[in-house]
Symmetry: C2
Subunit: 837 residues, 2 copies
């Protein structure tokens, strides 16, 4: 196999496989990253890719979506309305460990002599498997084959297989399988091969000092072990149960023990050469906000009974079937690009692992793969993950929205604290309460309201599920519209009344608490208009639901009109001289940051400069105006998009992983094809190549979602503005074919994009109405449609450079200039910071 020159992965260690991530050497120096890359999860339960034997590791993690501890936020200086209740995901008791001793020598991977090693995260099987050959200190060769999965069909269930075979001698084998409560991982740092993180990094989770999990239940019998816990402050409960089966021709004995923080089952086997031992561990987790531990224990019994009854083979078959369906709905294929194909599928697989079974909970920034960002839900889910869900997995999309709906009361309470009507959703949260302790880049991001409203409207447009609105989701639109109408205010200029929104922070966190942030105003406008339309539509379509709504939320006669009026008169800042949209009303007055002369070792800026320093400059953590150009693309002309992109792109550091994907999509649209590819790769490999040096904290789920958007909306050119599905494709030059599926109102369409045609084939459903570059087409089940393409859109070369804004110079009088950060590449160096093509 030939490796691409620009491949950011070391292919000797991670060979290309289009349907799996494979590791062929055990790497000790980057266990944090590989624990993330090889994690398994189902959106509810996540197991980091820790070594089976459980000793070595960067962070031994088992996460359950929404299972969190609370703590009082102590502000160094208090102020009214600051967030009070900190929330942090808890590292649940670890049931994935299976320890092996041969002749009483433990297998510890970091010190063992390994004659063979392969680890494989299989995207179709939904399993992590490992095969190693170990030569024990006494020289015996042992083959160990193991497998691990968290079930997509039963979200409470995880299964581990562990098979041992003596290859050239007999030996005494002990297999010890614990459930170990690590108390949020504090112990690891003492024994792990990786040093604890030094210094501060606001992106990491708070460490607990006091005991989090209080032991409530210890129950064992008939080889089954159940431990029950309750969180000290949040009161949430958890039960974890395990039961084992063994299959071997060797003689063995078994025993077990149980305590507050440790239950274990032990097999002692007189192993003969060539006679394998196979132990299977069935594990189940149940959690709840208020249910007593006792009841959760009953649930673990039911799950284990059912799993053992079904049997391992059947459970793995179900897993595969589930994934067959997933890929049929979601796969994106890039012909003749196996390295990219692998990376794309890894990202899509991560989306399945982060979202599939969230059921009533949200999608955390790291899914269930790590404790980064404290396990919190952000706008990431609505803006970066929901598009993927709405167009490939509507049921899951609906669940995520229902989670926000459930949080509406908390958002109403928060609005009152912030002196506003309606509802203000928290910038970061698990339980619905604001948990952002730094309001300037937290609570001030009022756009979260519009983001949620956007995702809801997008879901309804994609699925046609207006019933969901009528059943109460419309309350989200009403309460967010109220917030905007109350937050903003009117001012008259010479010709018109204008609606302004002041004192907010947009997506770009390198500029905070500003007036008339472009993104916020554009999104608020859409929010207000959508709420008005939804209420009016409901009145026509479903008068009963409408009257219930009016009563429930006390909607006054003039209210809907006032939203429309605010939307119609929303201030959209525009600079005539530069011909661009200022990010906010003061942005263009600021000094330009000299990115070109900012050394790499002072990046990302947030870790090396005081916020006051950063805020003083025109410099972006992430796309802000450019994101608006994408999400509200029908409100901007092509010329505007190009001008804005060319202005902001050179100012954008990409210090946030939420940036590259949007930059790629708009670069594609306006014609910077090479640049679009560069940003696409920056998103695609953000975790695989650890481009932001924090893959160890968990998968960047939003970026994974963005990879799908980059493929479908960026290169595929798909847009959906108000339920009109359009295509204006931008196939990269070096690609021969891009194939993806989208589900539109229940109809699944396979889209095949080639240099000179785009073709549509129905895979499910009867008919789809689409537009390709203005031309309306109808696809039916009988008749695929192929549309010829003259080109792949406009074509610009290179990358925009920092605009020489009139009058901007340094104190010494020289004019400021800057450019994109210098990109370096060493194909042999898998730590290369940013991949290029």
């Amino acid at each position: 196999m030939r490796f691409a020159d620009n491949d950011p992965l070391n292919r000797l260690r991670f060979p290309i496989d289009e349907w799996a991530l494979v590791e062929t050497d055990f790497g000790m120096h980057d266990m944090g990253r590989t624990e993330t890359l090889f994690a398994v999860g189902n959106g509810y339960l996540g197991l980091r890719g820790n070594v089976e034997e459980g000793r070595d590791g960067y962070f031994h993690g088992t996460f359950i979506n929404g299972f969190h501890e609370t703590w009082p936020i102590r502000h160094a200086e208090e102020a009214f309305g600051f967030a009070r209740v900190g929330q942090t995901i808890v590292n649940a008791p670890d049931a994935k460990v299976i320890r092996l001793y041969v002749d009483d020598e433990p297998l510890v991977l970091t010190v063992a002599e390994l004659l063979g090693y392969e680890r494989r995260l299989d995207f179709r099987l939904g399993t992590l498997s490992r095969s190693i050959e170990w030569r024990t200190p006494s020289g015996k060769r042992v083959l160990i084959t193991s497998r691990r999965m968290t079930s997509f069909t039963d979200r409470h269930l995880a299964i581990m297989d562990y098979e041992v075979e003596l290859l050239d001698a007999d030996a005494a084998v002990t297999i010890s399988s614990p459930i170990l409560n690590r108390q949020d991982g504090r112990d690891e740092y003492r024994s792990g091969v990786t040093a604890p993180p030094a210094g501060f990094d606001p992106r990491r989770a708070e460490q607990f000092i006091d005991r989090v999990l209080q032991p409530r239940v210890q129950r064992s019998g008939n080889g089954r072990y159940v431990l029950g816990y309750q969180c000290t402050n949040s009161g949430m409960t958890l039960a974890v149960g395990a039961e084992h089966t063994i299959s071997t021709e060797n003689p063995y004995t078994e025993s077990g023990s149980i305590g507050d923080d440790l239950a274990k089952h032990i097999y002692r086997i007189q192993a003969k050469q060539g006679k394998p031992i196979r132990v299977t561990k069935f594990v189940t987790y149940h959690t709840a906000r208020i249910v007593p531990t006792r009841e959760l224990v009953d649930r673990t019994d039911r799950t284990l009974d059912r799993a053992i009854e079904l049997g391992v083979a059947e459970l793995f078959d179900q897993q595969r079937s589930w994934l067959d369906d997933f890929w049929a709905r979601s796969d994106v294929e890039i012909a003749d690009q196996p390295a990219l194909q692998q990376a794309v599928r890894w990202n899509l697989f991560q989306l399945a692992q982060a979202t599939a079974r969230t059921d009533g909970d949200g999608v955390a920034a790291k899914g269930v793969t790590g404790s980064g960002y404290g396990g919190h839900y952000f706008w990431d889910s609505e803006i970066y993950v929901m598009p993927f869900l709405s167009y490939t997995a509507p049921i899951v999309a609906r669940n995520v929205l229902r989670f926000r709906q459930r949080m509406l009361d908390a958002a109403r309470a928060r609005a009152i604290e912030l002196n506003q009507r309606g509802a203000l959703f928290p910038w970061r949260t698990i339980n619905g309460q604001e948990s952002s302790a730094y309001y300037a880049a937290g609570t001030a991001q009022y756009h979260i309201d519009a983001d949620i409203a956007y995702a809801l409207c997008q879901y309804v447009a994609a699925t046609g599920d207006v019933d969901f609105l009528a059943r109460g989701a419309i309350d989200i639109l009403v309460e967010t519209a109220r917030m905007w109408e109350d937050l903003g205010f009117w001012r008259s200029n010479k010709t018109d009344d204008v609606f302004h929104v002041h004192g907010v922070t947009g997506p770009d966190e390198y500029t905070t608490v500003v007036n008339d942030n472009l993104y916020t105003n554009v999104m608020a406008r859409a929010n207000l208009a959508a709420a008005a339309s939804a209420v009016d539509n409901l009145q026509v379509d479903n008068p009963i639901a409408y009257h219930k709504l009016v009563n429930r939320l006390d909607i006054t006669p003039g209210e809907v009109a006032s939203w429309r009026r605010a939307a119609a008169h929303m201030h959209i800042p525009y600079d005539e001289q530069l011909g661009i949209h200022p990010q906010d009303s003061q942005f263009l007055q600021k000094e330009l940051w000299d990115l070109e002369n900012t050394p790499e070792d002072r990046r990302p800026l947030l870790l090396h400069y005081h916020p006051l320093v950063i805020y003083r400059f025109q410099v972006l953590k992430q796309a802000d105006v450019v994101l608006a150009l994408y999400l509200q693309g029908d409100r901007f002309s092509t010329e505007m998009k190009r001008a804005d992109f060319e202005y902001y792109d050179p100012l954008t550091t990409g210090d946030s992983t939420l940036s590259a994907i949007v930059q790629s999509i708009i670069a594609s649209e306006v014609g910077y094809h090479e640049l679009a590819m560069r940003y696409f790769r920056a998103a695609l490999f953000v975790d695989l190549a650890d481009l932001h040096h924090n893959a160890a904290d968990g998968v960047h789920v939003a970026s994974a979602g963005g990879v799908w958007s980059t493929l479908v909306a960026g290169f595929g050119g798909f847009r959906d503005h108000g339920g009109v599905f359009t295509f204006d494709p931008r196939l990269p030059d070096e690609w021969t074919k891009l194939t993806f599926r989208i589900t539109l109102r229940g109809t699944r369409v396979r889209v095949e994009l080639e240099p000179t045609t785009i073709s549509f084939t129905l895979e499910v459903g009867d008919e789809a109405r689409l537009r390709v570059r203005g031309a309306e087409i109808v696809v039916t089940a009988d008749e695929p449609v192929s549309v010829p393409l003259l080109d792949q859109g406009p074509r610009l070369f290179g990358a925009p450079t920092m605009r020489d804004v009139e009058g901007s110079r340094r104190s010494d009088g020289t004019l400021l200039t800057a450019s994109l950060p210098t990109l370096s590449l060493d194909p042999d160096d898998e730590e290369a910071p940013i991949p290029v093509d």
Copy 2:
């Protein structure tokens, strides 16, 4: 005596005395306030006005300027460059307690039957004395007379007198006199009559959880007790010593004991009716940053030896002499206004108590009277206290400036953290390190640099002490100018190059992190120009010092010119349409806060609204532009001042005590005489009538300094711009005469202002050159000068109301209006929130 109708004090309890604050009823409900009002201090050592017997109290406080503990600031969300080292003044061991038992019944004021009670803080004697007559539970009448002082002549020394006389029977009397380490007051809240402060108030000090003072020395012998401590984190050391003398004809025995946190000396007396017992307690405190406790113990011995040798009478005489001199330099007399006169002298006396012997330390926001604001030094000292010092006590003024000079290295280090050249002084600090944990209203107040430079230039202009600059204080000017020149940046508009300063917070903390704050830019301009002039002058006047300076600070040839250029081209925002100076480049675009409809129970705003809400509006915590109009008054025309004052005054909440004094001065200048008086009274009574409900936390020292400025600069019309001393007086209508003294370049001038004349008489020195409304006059020792006055300046009536800014209206379309907060007055209610006339 007749009480003025508008007197905010209950004169039945606090009768008027022009030279003392007198209390004639023991008040249990407001002990926090009276502990502050009756505190004694000398700028180094402060004893709160706690009852002698030490049981009852709101907060038992003994404070030593600069004696602090440090603690790591834990930010709920971290960011680069956030302040790291919290600093909090320590409540030192309490040596002021003297307990009395008669027939073993303790005297506890809150439960005792008091037949007589008077407490008196005497402004000429410098003592707090108390006289009570107690009827014991068994019916015996006891007269107790006590006195307390902290010495102005020996700053380490405090003396307490305690005299007991049985009036109608014999009794067994025990006097127990402890030194009690209260460990920062945590115990009081359990036993005190006042509940601990509930809820949050950012203006209070942090409470420590762990032990702060580690016992290091306990030494007793020959009736002397010394305890030595070291702070756990800061390592600062303290020794406190006490020795007693007794004078009585009654037979007595004495004994004592000592432990880690308690030393006590006990007298048991067989007291006969009519035979008084007088116990005198000599107390001394020594503190140091690095000196071992052992050495401090030696110092306590020397202080106590010397004090006992001098004797009580002599020490009290010295105290009186010191104050005679103080009043000769500093007194301000208002004829025929005894209630105001008393309040004025109380404020001036507080300035003596806060500043007299700071020696190498700064002037804390609460002086040494409380732990409010953690004992930190702010710009308060430079802008509000230094004028008083520079014109009445140059030596003290110089000490305060030397304190800043000593902190210059820390300010250099802080500038580097904030990515700037030069020096950036901390917004709040004790040890020189930034201790503000909320940067938006802390570190962002870059104007602290210009404030310090301003105070330095003012001192030099007032005293002519250019030698102080040459000896190194000029470094402050150079390093602050460098900071400004580096912080700002150049931008060209159509006609000119303009120097902008972005991302700073001005004095008004209800608007943060803005561009081109008017106050900041105006003060930075002066800072830059002053540095340039000082360096150039030094080159001419003192070439050797100049060359040392250039070498020491590596001043480059073009540097001085670049400061001048930045100053000359500094952007001073001005709105042509409104004819006012915007507080910052965005201020006028904001919505107007409807102060009129803001209920009193939601004031101050900072305790009832999230910062994001407050920041979104045109509403001021305190004067900002208006302060610039005062400090840089020669840079604004009379018309500008009036227009700016009329615009901003109705928007100013006065939620900061730093506001009223400036509002009064400018109201006087532009002609709002009644309003000026209203603001003057708001400052004058801020503590005496507890107008801000936090007098319990300590004296508002800056406001006390401002009272002096209001009298001298506001009503007296004194200004000093660049060493030109001018008078343009504004005697209030209801006053017949205002007399004050100022010391100008060593010459002390008595100024007597009457309705039709202003007279100048030299008290010390040979000659003073002054200007009265443009006319130059020379005053010599032989010849007082009297200048006739046609009027007391322009005359405007009422108060400005909120300007109807075009296009400003509420969301419902109605125009916003507002006015000054409604002032209520009940002359019988000493808790009245705001006094009016």
